[in-house]
């Protein structure tokens, strides 16, 4: 309105005012003025001069109009090009799929069976993307380890095969089928042998397909081969009980567990025993299991044992024989060695346990396995189950050896590998690779390029298990289903689908699978229900086992002929890398080994005594990182060069060990690390010689100080069963005392701070050190749930690991306060320097540490911008976008759990891991922000999960049930050592645990009042 008015005014004024340009205008009827009115330009415009010349105009190719067009167009284009719109790669749901609500996760029950890990799992799917693996707790194999937890990232591996290949060139599936079928038919015509070489699939439907294939192609063999072989145990079972499958063990029933070299909390016989084991590790009615471990290299199992006897592999054989003699034959050897005394003592305890005892062995020898089976049979062990056996290892080493020989001899027409990489995992891989070239047809089904695909003529790209249909028979009567949770990312086709194609069937594998289940397994029960549950149990008639009469004495005498050597080399698997099939998974590479706390490496474990003898050293360099000497190892006719040496406390002198799964080819550069130990994989041990070579290896360790420095009372508390039962709590779990007016008082009397309101929900986390085995499944679960970045070897080396939770591992030291006082060095530098050294045969304790969510948090007071503050539900919260990055909070944290973003860890080629490519980023949890450079981050007690739980309960108008609150770590823990919940809910498990006598807080005397607390460890050190 105002503007209009002003314009009007101007017009009016214009009519009144007159402007003149010259005096001439004032004259009326001036000719000049008239002339000017008629003509705009006073002078003639010489248009004729440049337009009149027709020749010039004709010769010019650009007219004025064209010129203006060009100017207009180029201006428009230039300005358009300058303002490029962002390319948004998300596509909105124009029509929303019925079962997907953006922002709401769906869970699917499925099963992982990749040949090494077998577990029933739940897959969390967000907007069609699987992002997290949870254990399926309603199933009997519903516990996950670190590798299972990390397998979701292997789905989004950039290294995966994107389609089938022939001789290294990409081809179509049609062409692939035609060519391979032609060859197969040709071989069939010639009657040549077709061999399937696969890892253990334990899949009934796959087996029946292979069987069908054999019927069609007559001369077909199926050889099963496991990289981590249990062939010896299987052969022993076959011999004694007539079936080639593994016994199951329920360690929860055991009062005495004796393990001779069996890492049963690790990967021994397929693993998965920790859940049962943990049940017996908490004293109930004054009783708990006793676990004795004989082993050479420090394993997870040995670290958890009540008593660990450190002996070389050859001595383990000896120990097993003696144990057998003492228990079964009743012959007590009167040899006066500490080992023998220990064995006689154990034999007495086993007998006293009356069947609630078990002897397991990891000695890779049929006779040794027979001995163990015989002992368990003799004591009528209730722990071992030889009727309902486990199918998760089938590999037959002898058959594979035969196969290689046959291939070499040219007896094999075609070899089809699936779910295995023999050209890498076989001890005689080179021989196999050579022999593979002699076959007329070689097809390798694989997820990514590896040694075997490189040597094969045809490579069939197979999908990840999260993209496939399948079934698994983990244990007799326990069927499981695998279902796809995402559409296939690449042009892949699963092995079974291909088999169906080759059989000429038009059926999909899904139809085949469903048909097979309906006809043979379900027995009329609902397929949908089975698919929903992920598992289906069939009650098996408790058939009596056929027991063969085995000549144990022959086995014993064969065993006793085994001669030890000066340096016995064994191989082992690590919690992270396992057999190496997920070696391209950066989460697993960055997972610190629970024992050595070293990442991104394998190394030769050597005892201090051997290291000193051979002049090998580990050194701490200026930035605190560890460097090690390197050696060449020669054993089994193979020399591996430049292997770094790691001096391992608890390594039996005279024994050395090397981890499997490293040194694989075809991985991303960052992941191509370590040396391949598979050449040493076969047998009990190898007589090795090592030779120091020049050069130094740089390790990346997350823990550089290994002993607890006499601070046990405040950090990891531990007691013995005897004390726990008979002594008052204050003697083995005393709260800190403070001096006030010369009186000893408890903490609440000296607290300077006001309490927070304790209303509503207050989250607490309880960690049981008695049942925590240190397996590190929680670390990976946390990594996946919270979008924790992978930072790579160098950053880990300079102590910049980003894991929100870690599992501290402490070794005991030979120097104690008492000993120091005795020697008169207590309080001196010598004393501390001695305390720093771990014992040669240490006791081990594990302690998971994440943000302790202190009620009186030191970090909160020091942040100048209040970026970290106390949550109403007890969390110590971190507001990333308020953080300016002074790092004062991290310095003032007594637990050192805060992690700083030293660099931008995503979209940065310096950190070329999953956050640096579109595929890898698909695994990110949309509920958790990816932190930017320069901010502090730490455990949030999975606030995104707890808030969701509260919201869901609110929507449904009900209180939150106990057990409903979970964090990633508590949910992943296979032994339920981590319990999370609302401590104000008095009936909740966590509230009960808080009041438990075993409960204590980490560094309680500092007065931080954490919302995380621990349950101390009880060791059963009872002697017979």
């Amino acid at each position: 309105m105002l503007i209009q008015y002003k314009i009007k005014q101007t017009i009016n004024m214009a009519s009144n005012k007159k402007y003149w340009k010259s005096v001439e205008e004032l004259k009326e009827n001036s000719s000049i003025v008239e002339k000017l009115k008629q003509k705009e330009f006073v002078e003639e415009i010489p248009a004729d001069q440049f337009l009149g010349d027709k020749d010039t105009l004709d010769s010019s190719s650009t007219s004025r109009r064209d010129f203006l067009k060009y100017v207009g167009f180029s201006t428009a284009v230039a300005s358009l090009a300058a303002c490029e719109g962002p390319v948004i790669k998300s596509i909105p749901y124009v029509i929303k799929p019925d079962d997907i609500t953006p922002g709401v996760a769906e869970y699917f029950a499925t099963t992982i069976a990749d040949g090494i890990d077998f577990a029933n799992v739940l897959i969390k799917v967000r907007e069609g993307r699987p992002i997290k693996i949870e254990p399926n707790k309603e199933s009997s194999f519903g516990s996950t380890n670190a590798r299972v937890q990390a397998s979701v990232l292997s789905l989004y591996d950039n290294n995966r095969l994107k389609g089938p290949k022939a001789k290294g060139e990409a081809i179509t599936w049609n062409k692939f089928d035609t060519e391979v079928l032609a060859k197969l038919n040709e071989l069939k015509g010639n009657g040549e042998k077709i061999v399937f070489l696969t890892g253990t699939c334990a899949s009934p439907s796959t087996s029946s397909l292979v069987k069908k294939f054999s019927e069609q192609y007559s001369n077909v063999a199926h050889v099963v081969y496991d990289a981590i072989s249990e062939s010896a145990a299987l052969d022993a079972m076959k011999e004694m009980y007539g079936k080639r499958s593994l016994p199951d063990y329920d360690f929860s029933k055991a009062e005495v567990i004796v393990s001779v070299g069996a890492d049963f909390l690790g990967d021994w016989q397929g693993g998965g025993f920790s859940t049962g084991y943990a049940k017996g590790r908490i004293p109930k009615n004054g009783k708990m299991s006793q676990h004795i471990q004989f082993e050479s290299n420090m394993s997870l199992t040995g670290a958890n044992a009540d008593k660990r006897v450190m002996i070389k592999p050859s001595q383990q054989v000896n120990a097993l024989i003696k144990l057998y003699q003492a228990i079964v034959s009743g012959v007590a050897t009167r040899e006066m060695s500490p080992l023998n005394t220990a064995i006689q003592d154990i034999a007495k305890q086993i007998k006293a346990a009356e069947g609630n005892a078990v002897v397991v062995t990891g000695i890779q020898d049929k006779n040794a396995q027979l001995l163990a089976l015989q002992i368990n049979k003799a004591i009528q062990s209730s722990v071992i189950d030889v009727v309902n056996t486990r199918n998760i290892r089938h590999g037959d080493d002898a058959k594979v050896t035969q196969l290689t020989a046959d291939m070499k001899a040219g007896k094999i027409g075609a070899i089809i590998t699936h779910n295995t990489n023999p050209a890498y995992t076989l001890p005689n891989a080179k021989e196999f690779t050579e022999a593979l070239k002699k076959t007329k047809l070689s097809v390798s089904f694989a997820m990514s390029d590896n040694e075997t695909t490189n040597a094969s003529q045809y490579v069939a790209a197979i999908p990840h298990y999260l993209e496939t249909w399948n079934d698994v028979l983990i244990k007799k009567g326990q069927y499981s289903l695998t279902q796809p949770t995402i559409h296939k990312l690449f042009d892949t086709r699963q092995f079974q689908e291909t088999l169906l194609k080759w059989l000429g069937s038009n059926e999909t594998y899904y139809d085949y699978l469903k048909g097979n289940w309906n006809n043979n397994i379900l027995g009329g029960k609902s397929w949908n229900q089975a698919l929903h549950d992920g598992t289906f149990s069939v009650s098996v008639a408790n058939e009596e086992n056929l027991v063969n009469d085995v000549d144990i004495s022959a086995a014993g005498s064969a065993l006793s002929k085994i001669k030890g050597s000066d340096l016995e080399l064994t191989v082992y698997t690590k919690a992270g890398i396992g057999d190496g099939q997920q070696a391209n998974n950066p989460w697993l590479q960055e997972l610190p080994d629970p024992i050595t706390r070293t990442t991104w490496d394998n190394y030769l474990l050597v005892s201090r005594i051997d290291a000193e003898r051979l002049g090998l050293e580990n050194r701490t360099v200026d930035n605190g990182a560890l460097n090690g000497d390197m050696v060449n190892i020669t054993a089994n006719g193979v020399t591996i060069e430049k292997v770094p040496v790691y001096i391992q406390p608890g390594q039996a002198p005279g024994s050395i060990a090397l981890a499997l799964g490293y040194g694989e080819k075809g991985l991303q550069e960052e992941m191509s690390i370590g040396v391949n130990a598979f050449p040493f994989a076969k047998g009990i041990f190898h007589n090795a010689s090592i030779e120091k070579v020049s050069g130094e290896h740089e390790f990346a360790c997350v823990q550089l100080q290994h002993t607890i420095m006499g601070r046990e009372g405040e950090i990891t508390k531990e007691t013995t069963l005897a004390d726990f039962v008979s002594k008052p709590k204050d003697e083995w779990n005393s709260p800190p005392k403070f001096s006030l007016d010369h009186q000893e008082v408890t903490q609440d009397k000296v607290d300077l701070w006001e309490k927070f309101d304790d209303l509503g929900t207050r989250f607490n986390l309880s960690i049981d050190l008695a049942t925590c085995t240190g397996c590190a499944a929680c670390v990976i679960a946390c990594h996946a749930e919270n979008n924790v970045p992978v930072v790579g070897k160098h950053e880990i080396r300079v102590s910049r690991d980003m894991h929100w939770m870690r599992i501290d591992r402490y070794y005991s030291s030979d120097m104690t306060v008492e000993k120091g006082k005795e020697e008169g060095i207590f309080g001196t530098g010598d004393f501390f320097n001695a305390q720093i050294q771990p014992s040669d045969a240490p006791e081990v304790s594990f302690q998971p540490v994440m943000c302790q969510h202190c009620n009186h948090a030191p970090c909160e007071t020091v942040c100048p911008v209040a970026a970290t503050s106390h949550g109403l539900q007890g969390q110590n919260q971190m507001a990333y976008n308020r953080c300016v990055g002074t790092r004062y909070c991290a310095n003032n944290c007594p637990y050192r759990v805060r992690r700083f973003n030293w660099f931008k860890y995503f979209d940065n080629n310096e950190f070329d891991f999953n956050m640096n490519n579109d595929l890898g980023r698909m695994v990110l949890n949309p509920d958790v922000v990816v932190r930017s450079r320069g901010v502090m981050e730490k455990c949030s007690m999975c606030i995104q999960m707890t808030q969701l739980t509260i919201l869901n309960a609110k929507k449904e108008g009900r209180p939150v049930a106990d057990g409903e609150f979970q964090t990633a770590c508590s949910n992943a823990c296979p032994t339920d050592a981590i319990v999370f919940g609302d401590v104000n809910d008095k009936i909740s498990k966590v509230a009960q645990l808080e009041k438990d006598d075993r409960s204590f807080k980490l560094l309680d005397f500092v007065g931080t009042k954490p919302n995380v607390f621990y349950q101390l460890k009880v060791k059963n050190t009872k002697e017979a």
């Binding site: 200026d622 930035n623 605190g624 990182a625 823990q703 550089l704 100080q705 290994h706 607890i708 420095m709 006499g710 601070r711 950090i715 950053e795 300079v798 102590s799 690991d801 870690r806 501290d808 402490y810 309080g827 001196t828 530098g829 004393f831 501390f832 320097n833 720093i836 540490v849 030191p858 007071t861 020091v862 942040c863 100048p864 911008v865 209040a866 308020r882 300016v884 990055g885 002074t886 790092r887 991290a890 310095n891 003032n892 007594p894 637990y895 050192r896 805060r898 992690r899 700083f900 973003n901 030293w902 660099f903 931008k904 930017s932 450079r933 320069g934 502090m936 560094l1003 500092v1006 931080t1008």
Partner: protein
């Protein structure tokens, strides 16, 4: 104007100066041309500054990860340098304010440069808390600035916030104090200036100083008031800096002795830096008659005293560490953590440079020797840098949980930034030496008749 000074006291101004001589001597560096050495040193300092700027730019562009820090040792050279520079910045105010209140006339020869040094050192110090932030671009969030983020406000519990206030207050008061003192001297330069541009500039800088009795009266009053204001700041700044550590829960940091210990240490290091600069400057700028053996000796006495306090603080820390019976304290002070641990060399540098060597100053012959004083000053500067390094790095490297023990080693960026600030400091100081009256000539003139050697001799011979 003049007061009586006992004949037994040594003259403060040497060389039979007249008032005019003083004006000439002080104005000479401003009116004359710079010599080659000035240019050489200035070029080196500028180069170091450029290197520092490059290192800072690299840090801000890439991330704090280019430093040698880690998740266990989150501060090292950055805060070491910060505390070191702040400490150095203590001497100026102490000399000009505290000594003014105590009527120490000898301060007049050195207070101008000491204050300049203070200001330049505090500027260096202020760089570090800013650039050590992960997100420098949000550094203003530490100021209580009203904002659009609702209830977001600074955390007044945080010692870092106290630092912000302490340092900014100290810097502003020091600056005002310094500038007030400069007014009559600028006026003197203005009055002598012949070049119109120079005259214009110094006219502006001298705020129209006319030298009337009223001017002088106000000048004296303001000086006294500012001295009164600045004196508590001498104590407060480093007390508050020490709170960064003392209020924490980290063994070795959590210590009630820190405030007095830090203040003494700061004066100690500040005087050492004044010594370093003035011993050079009296030669280069021909100020031997104004900055005399007496000045150096007096400063050495302060160094000896504050060094003694620092040493007592060390000893009591070690004693308390041992007496507490706490294994955490034992570690930081007594054993592997410090004296025999991975940082044993840093620990012993500290003990020797701060504790042992300064004891030589008990000998009059040594403390009146320019060369010895200069070397001593350099050693103390090194020792005090290591004191802060030891406090920060050793204690962080040996925390509560042994599993988190780690070590630190600097990268070229850490070193580059430190050298850069030294360069920046010298660039500022060299420019100051060429453009400012480096001795408070008006004040010096006020004691000429009492403490000038010519006048004293004449009086004594009467």
């Amino acid at each position: 104007m003049s007061h009586y000074e006992a004949p037994i006291r040594e003259p403060i101004i040497l060389g039979d100066k007249t008032y005019h001589d003083i004006s000439n001597d002080i104005a000479a560096p401003i009116e004359g041309k710079a010599n080659t050495w000035w240019w050489v040193v200035f070029s080196i300092a500028s180069f170091a500054l450029l290197w520092g700027i490059g290192a800072i730019a690299y840090t801000i562009g890439t991330g704090i990860g280019v430093w040698g820090l880690n998740n266990k040792i989150n501060w090292a050279w950055d805060i070491t340098n910060f505390v070191w520079w702040v400490g150095i910045g203590h001497a100026g105010t102490l000399i000009s304010a505290v000594l003014l209140l105590f009527r120490q006339k000898w301060r007049m020869g050195i207070n101008r440069s000491a204050e300049a040094m203070t200001i330049f050192a505090v500027i260096q110090a202020a760089i570090f808390p800013v650039i050590h932030m992960g997100r420098v671009w949000n550094a203003y969030w530490v100021m209580p600035i009203p904002n659009q983020f609702g209830s977001l406000w600074t955390n007044f519990n945080s010692p870092l916030l106290w630092d912000v206030f302490a340092i900014s207050t100290y810097l502003s008061v020091s600056l005002v104090f310094w500038y007030t003192g400069l007014l009559p001297d600028f006026a003197m330069i203005r009055d002598r200036a012949t070049k119109p541009f120079q005259k214009k500039i110094y006219s502006l800088l001298s705020f129209g100083w006319s030298g009337t009795a009223k001017d002088w009266q106000r000048f004296e009053e303001v000086s006294l008031v500012l001295a009164g204001l600045a004196t508590p700041l001498v104590l407060s700044v480093h007390t508050i800096v020490s709170f960064d550590f003392a209020t924490s829960v980290i063994p070795g940091w959590h210590s009630t002795i820190y405030p007095p210990y830090f203040v003494a240490g700061a004066v100690f290091s500040g005087f050492a830096m004044v010594q370093t600069l003035l011993i050079i400057m009296r030669k280069v700028s021909n100020l031997e008659d104004y900055i005399t053996r007496l000045h150096i000796e007096n400063m050495n006495k302060v160094i000896l005293l504050t060094g003694g306090i620092v040493m007592v603080a060390y000893l009591s820390e070690f004693f308390v560490g041992w007496y507490s019976g706490s294994s955490y304290e034992d570690f930081t002070y007594l054993s592997v953590g410090a004296a025999t641990g991975p940082y044993w060399w840093a620990f012993w540098i500290l003990i020797f440079c701060n504790g042992i060597f300064p004891q030589l100053l008990w000998f009059k012959k040594l403390r009146t020797n320019f060369t010895v004083s200069f070397i001593m000053a350099i050693l103390i500067n090194i020792g005090m840098w290591f004191e802060r390094f030891d406090i920060i790095v050793i204690n962080l490297s040996r925390g509560h949980l042994p599993s988190t023990w780690a070590q630190f080693s600097p990268t070229f960026v850490d070193i580059g930034i430190y050298i850069g600030t030294i360069g920046f400091f010298f660039v500022l100081f060299l420019l100051y030496a060429r453009t400012f009256p480096v001795v408070a000539q008006a004040e010096v003139k006020s004691i000429l008749k009492a403490s000038g050697d010519g006048y004293k001799r004449a009086r004594n011979n009467k």
